[in-house]
């Protein structure tokens, strides 16, 4: 068995006391492209955010290459949902990509020539080199997504989390992203992708995590992405689980 890049142990995550992920337990081996699949509200984004330490865990733990996230930050790259930022912010495309290098730079140090070269190289990899000086407002949806990808590349990580990179992008961008994912895999990186379109799962990914408030299944696509598991994932929510969550929320009159 190869190295485990990413591991979740008995993780439960709650928003305002309402649990949205129950008791997740999974392992992802190094060098795989992993799709995180499930219906709306299944907790796909929550899984990523909890893994990145953006949400507190109600219980359980997350490990990156065998150690807690806080110690392994430098190994992790993150592509948030495109809608999560204000695209009218006064920065250029290259400024955004440079942000990927901030983690390595540390306090007070400004990006210099070396960082700018990294940024330009990353922009080249996503086919956006000619737009480095554009203001980000002038980009199309697909271009915005590529800028975010370039920023994650600039993080030079070993494990990447991508939140819905294919949503609302053009066909050319989708193809470019896929090609990039393959390049990353070839160089031994592990990539987890929140994905909406079940049609393309087989084509795009080696591994799949099926999620619907709890873990339905996780493993290689051939053995895991079965119609039985899909039925479990999409065949309606577990009403008892939903009701339990609601009951916990209602117990105290908090918002």
């Amino acid at each position: 068995m190869s190295t485990v890049a990413f591991e979740i142990h008995d993780m439960t995550v709650a928003y305002h006391r309402r649990p949205v992920l129950w008791d997740i337990d999974l392992e992802v081996p190094e060098g795989k492209l992993v799709g995180i699949v499930g219906p709306n509200g299944a907790g796909k984004t929550t899984l990523i955010k909890a893994a990145l330490g953006l949400l507190p865990l109600a219980s359980g733990k997350v490990e990156i290459y065998g150690k807690p996230y806080a110690e392994q930050r430098r190994l992790v790259g993150y592509v948030p949902q495109r809608e999560s930022v204000d695209w009218d912010f006064p920065v250029t495309v290259r400024d955004v990509v440079l942000m990927g290098t901030y983690g390595r730079l540390g306090w007070f140090r400004r990006p210099g020539r070396a960082e700018r070269e990294i940024a330009d190289h990353c922009l080249q990899q996503v086919g956006m080199a000619s737009l480095a000086k554009r203001q980000i407002r002038q980009l199309s949806g697909g271009q915005q997504q590529r800028v975010f990808l370039a920023r994650a590349l600039a993080q030079d990580a070993r494990l990447y989390f991508l939140d819905e990179p294919f949503s609302g992008v053009d066909a050319a961008t989708e193809a470019a992203i896929i090609e990039l994912l393959h390049t990353l895999r070839t160089s031994g990186k592990t990539v987890l992708v929140v994905h909406h379109d079940i049609q393309t799962v087989r084509e795009y990914f080696d591994h799949v995590i099926l999620l619907n408030m709890r873990l339905i299944a996780s493993g290689p696509v051939e053995t895991t992405f079965t119609s039985e598991n899909l039925h479990k994932t999409y065949g309606g929510r577990l009403t008892i689980l939903d009701e339990a969550a609601e009951a916990i929320r209602q117990r105290e009159p908090n918002p």
Binding site: L52, F108, R137
Partner: protein, 431 residues
């Protein structure tokens, strides 16, 4: 500093305040926290009054510490209200702001009673601002705060930029986003509080928001935005005190800032209203001109390659034109050499024909595409194509032509470039 006259001091003081509130305000505005400055300012009043009651004099540092304390209390109150009740943040800010301000006004009226001793002169300036009371010590405090805040902002520029743009990403990289947010807020609080005696609690918010909002019209780069916002703030401070002599200074500074904002809103390149209207106007002008050429082509089409002379009434009949517009369009087209206009007749020139043919081709390609690929009814297609064809880049039209040709819906595209009259790649071509 003793060599400075009062008006010099006032000018330097307001310039310092304007500059730093522009810089600090930029981050607040970009982070979507512009109202926090307003709340801090209003909530400072009861703290100022209590500090005066405790100290019995109006030492600026003491009053400022009082202001800071009640400002922080107000932020704490908003946080608690949002966290523990169903009240939304904007409502909570409104509630806390007015409650604290009300308390401040009550305290102020108590202080005004003769039973309370101490030198009260200038305490009222906290309401509307009165830079005329500025002492040399106040000026030194302003300068110290300005240097401190500007140094901190230039040190933390990268960190603030990241948190303002994408806080989640910043946190995933391990930046302490909460503490950075608090630092931004603390700078805002300090600047607000030293600004209170100059522009007053009511108008301080404008000093935070206006320079930043103004600068946004002029640039798309953050560091330029900060410099510009600082500059606009300074200009508002200096001009406001100069122009508003004899008027309440806080109000005239804010009105000057608002005037600079209005000018930017109207006349800034690209983002300004005038620039945007101009773009719109040019597009409309191009569209009507293209309509004219296409009409002339369609009227001449049956007799091509001869170029018939067309009587004006026929052109009017063919498509509706406002008479003055048609006259102007025709004379403009004639000036560009696209048509010959003699008396009441119009004739396309060869150049005009070339242009008109291109436009007509683009229009018809679109019509075909829309009818065949998007299933738009033939009686609607003319207008639908019209809406779009003027905005399409040439590369897309070429692609469209290629696609229609590939599907056999259009004769194969032929380049009508004649063969080269000499041998290509010969020495004569390389110079």
């Amino acid at each position: 500093m003793t060599g400075l006259t009062l008006s010099d001091k006032v000018m330097i003081g307001t310039a310092l305040l304007g500059g730093m509130s522009g810089v600090v305000g930029s981050f607040a505005v970009l982070r979507g926290r512009s109202l926090v400055g307003d709340m801090l300012a209003h909530a400072a009043l009861p703290g100022v009054c209590l500090a005066f009651l405790l100290m019995g004099n109006r030492n600026l540092l003491g009053l400022s510490l009082g202001a800071l304390a009640s400002g922080l209390l107000a932020i704490g109150a908003v946080t608690l209200v949002v966290r523990w009740t169903r009240t939304k943040e904007d409502a909570a800010i409104g509630i806390v702001l007015s409650t604290f301000f009300g308390a401040g006004v009550v305290l102020l009226s108590i202080i005004q009673k003769p039973a309370i001793g101490g030198n009260k002169a200038g305490l009222n300036s906290y309401l509307f601002g009165e830079p005329g009371n500025m002492l040399t010590g106040d000026l030194v405090l302003l300068a110290v705060v300005a240097v401190f805040v500007l140094m901190a902002v230039s040190l933390l520029f990268k960190e603030f930029k990241l948190v303002c743009f994408d806080a989640d990403f910043a946190q995933s990289q391990g930046w302490p986003t909460l503490r950075l947010d608090l630092a931004m807020m603390a700078f805002l609080a300090v600047v607000t509080i030293v600004g209170l005696p100059i522009v007053g609690v009511i108008l301080m918010a404008a000093m935070i928001i206006l320079p930043a909002a103004t600068a946004r019209f002029w640039t798309n780069r953050l560091h330029v935005l900060l410099l510009l916002a600082g500059g606009f703030g300074m200009a508002a401070g200096i001009l406001g005190t100069k122009l508003g002599q004899g008027l309440p200074a806080g109000a005239s500074i804010v009105l000057t800032a608002a005037a600079i904002f209005t000018v930017s809103l109207l006349f800034a390149p690209r983002r300004g209203i005038v620039a945007r209207l101009l773009v719109e106007f040019r597009l409309r002008k191009r569209v009507v001109c293209e309509h004219l050429l296409r009409s002339l082509y369609e009227l001449s089409e049956s007799q091509l390659p001869q170029l018939p002379t067309l009587p004006l009434p026929r052109i009017r009949e063919y498509r509706y034109w406002q008479p003055w517009l048609l006259d102007r369009l025709l004379s403009q087209a004639a000036a560009k050499g696209l048509i010959l206009q003699v008396d009441q007749t119009v004739q396309l020139t060869p150049l005009g024909l070339h242009r008109a043919a291109e436009l007509t081709k683009a229009h018809r390609l679109w019509e075909m595409y829309l009818m065949q690929c998007a299933n738009i009814a033939p009686d609607h297609v003319d207008r639908d194509a019209d809406d779009m064809e003027h905005l399409l880049p040439e590369s897309l039209l070429l692609e469209l032509e290629q696609q229609l040709a590939d599907e056999g819906r259009l004769p194969r595209v032929q380049a009508d470039v004649p063969a080269s009259p000499h041998q290509l790649g010969s020495v004569g071509n390389r110079q």
